[in-house]
Amino acid sequence: MQEQSFNDFLREIAPQGRTMLLPALLEAQKEFGYISKEMATEIGNALKVPFADISGVIEFYSMLHSEPTAETIIRVCTSPSCSARGGRDVHQQILTELDLLKDGATADGKYFVEEAPCLGLCDKAPSALVDETALGSITPELLLNPQDNVRTEVYAKESVITGRIGEVDPFSLDDYLANEGFLSFPNAVQIGPEKMLDCMADSGILGRGGASFPTKMKWAGAAEAPGEQKYIVCNSDEAEPGTFKDRVILENDPFSVLEGMMIGGYAIGASKGFIYVRGEYPKVQKTFQAAIVSARAKGYLGENILGSSFDFDIELRSGAGAYICGEETALFESIEGKRGFPRLKPPFPTTHGLYQKPTVINNVETFANISLLFRIGVDAYRSYGTEKSSGPWLFSVSGDIAKPGIYEITNPTTLRELLEWAGGVKDGAALQTVLLGGAAGKFVHPDQLDVRLTQEDAHAAGLTLGSGAVVVLSENADLKQTLADLGHFFAHESCGKCYPCQLGTQRQAEILDRNLTGSVIEGDFTRLEDVGWTMTDASLCGLGQTAASAVLSAMEHFPEQFK
């Protein structure tokens, strides 16, 4: 019966070919708990994908398994925010409780336990995902009786980008309309693509995905690029440890992102958009899929939108457990049904993106800002932020902090002020350091707290805001553990394409493990430096280039941690 419906599903998607490989594998994983050789053979035959490639793809994504798992999959986060707040202990406890010596399935086939990289639930650390249920403040009992308990707090002195969060029903298009929704798309259409791009240039809007690239440059590049078929892609792979802002936007205000994508499609002449949501965000996927369906029903997606000659539709794709798929070209490869390997650049996505067509890829928060900009206009937009970092900026605050959550910054604010706003270090302890910008970011020395959280100030201080992750570590946190956590994260997430990162993330993790267990050997400090700088200098993509960033900053600020 199950098998029958899966075969029907395969027959239905077969004409689309290889691009449907990941959806097919995810569906099989969900239905059967794993992908058997027989199932993989049928998928390969239906989608015309070479069999060896199917194994290659299954092995690449950590949520896909070629061996049976269990009825329930428990994923316990051991990334820095959760590890610092006891995640590793709960992981051990649940293994003991289930009579497991290490990660894997219980003998009765009921539970499958595994350590997981950051699940984007850092504010509720320690956190876990049990099948599709997100859990915060986990205990072994909660893991066995899961009940969604995650309500992320959102703080804003003036709610600009977060205005609808908690105020509207995310499943109601009418609610969105009643709260200034779908005002920006008509504004954009009214002024036309050329003026839109001027408007974006004047606004100074920067990408919120980590690199802070001027959005206008991408859009103009793709608009000018020759070609009939172009794409808009929304990057919702959010997997940077310590970052959960995109989840909060999408779970609470999906239409603002959808409208931003429509505006993008109109500006560059794309009729198709994709939103790629990480596999660990089932609630986001449900919420956004519902938004797509209701937008279609009301004529906001489809043909001749709102009586114009503009056609645009959006397709949601799920990731399957791979941080690297947040890298834009790896994300395209993933949608194309391949292993998520980053491509060599140039060429860039604006001319050779998804399916080698001109493509604009932006972050979730960037699209929400686009909606905001075309609703309130350049001057109002520029009244927030600074000259060089215009508009509102979101920060995900977690770790040893009194009030973890999302913080919207609309006026220049220092890191110290942000920490005070967030109630200071938890339980009144002293601050040890802040990991700013996530795993790919840097440790901040307590002397650096007066840096303003803008691109220009962070840059001048030799720091990076990245995607806005602020992970607070108190004097009681074991920095050696955090460093080892980071080592494991990158070793687990390196795609393996280029040698410096494939080998360097492993060597780095080994040295950081020795550092944690007090078994350093002669020369480890320089070994770690050589590995770190080789990854930074010679790696193919941003993952390897930043895989040593936090470690090298710790070596600079806290050399005593490496003794």
């Binding site: 050789k37 993989a40 070479p50 069999f51 060896a52 490639d53 199917i54 194994s55 290659g56 092995e59 690449f60 950590s62 070629s66 791979a322 292993r339 060599l344 140039p346 070793a491 687990h492 997430e493 390196s494 795609c495 393996g496 394409k497 280029c498 040698y499 410096p500 494939q502 080998l503 360097g504 993330t505 492993q506 060597r507 080994e510 020795r514 050997i521 070994r527 050589d530 590995v531 700088w533 080789t534 930074t536 200098d537 010679a538 790696s539 193919l540 280039q545």
Partner: protein, 234 residues
Amino acid sequence: MNKTFTLTIDGQSVDAPQDSTIQQVLESINKPAPLICAHEATTPEGLCRQCVVEVEGWRVLAPSCVTKINEGMVIHTASERVIRSRRTILEMLNASVDLSEAPELQAQMDEFGADRERFPHAKTREQDVKDDNPFFVRDYEKCLMCWRCVQACGDDIQYTYSISVGGRGFESKISTFFDSPMPETSCVFCGNCVAVCPTNALKSKTEFFMEQGLDYDEIRQEKRAEKKKMGGGK
């Protein structure tokens, strides 16, 4: 009509056709960068990064084999950053993979002063030889993941797609569909993969048997028996 760009390489001014890669220019002045993954028969993927050079004004080093030149580029081929990367890549590789039958890598380790014991207690790719067909063996603890065999099997030569890159990160490997033995895959035993392998990870059965001390007649008998077992027996 082919315009040229002028570059400065280690202080020397060089003119080169504008669609050249850095490596092509380096070859033209007899200063080729060391290569690991690149091969004339396969599409360059820029994997090993052993060919990196420093370009003034660039944040990261540039892989010579896939980087196109620009007018006025100022390149350093032996800066401290370049040498550290090359040496460290070799040291990390040697700690993971058996390079004993890769003479080019041995020569590079000597050239860049790589310490062959730089990473003690490192995890390796040690594993058993896969001996499942009459034509070649797969000794993957010698595999340095240059992808050339996969490319030769696929779009670059044979269009057979019997093998793929599997695993991830350090656990990357060359694999078949559910680890099937080669005779159960689409493999046609063309031998292209063996021909492009730089480390003897893929080795002809004849060479493999010779190393085990078999003589010519014994090898012929062994191979005939294996082919029969496989069911073809050409």
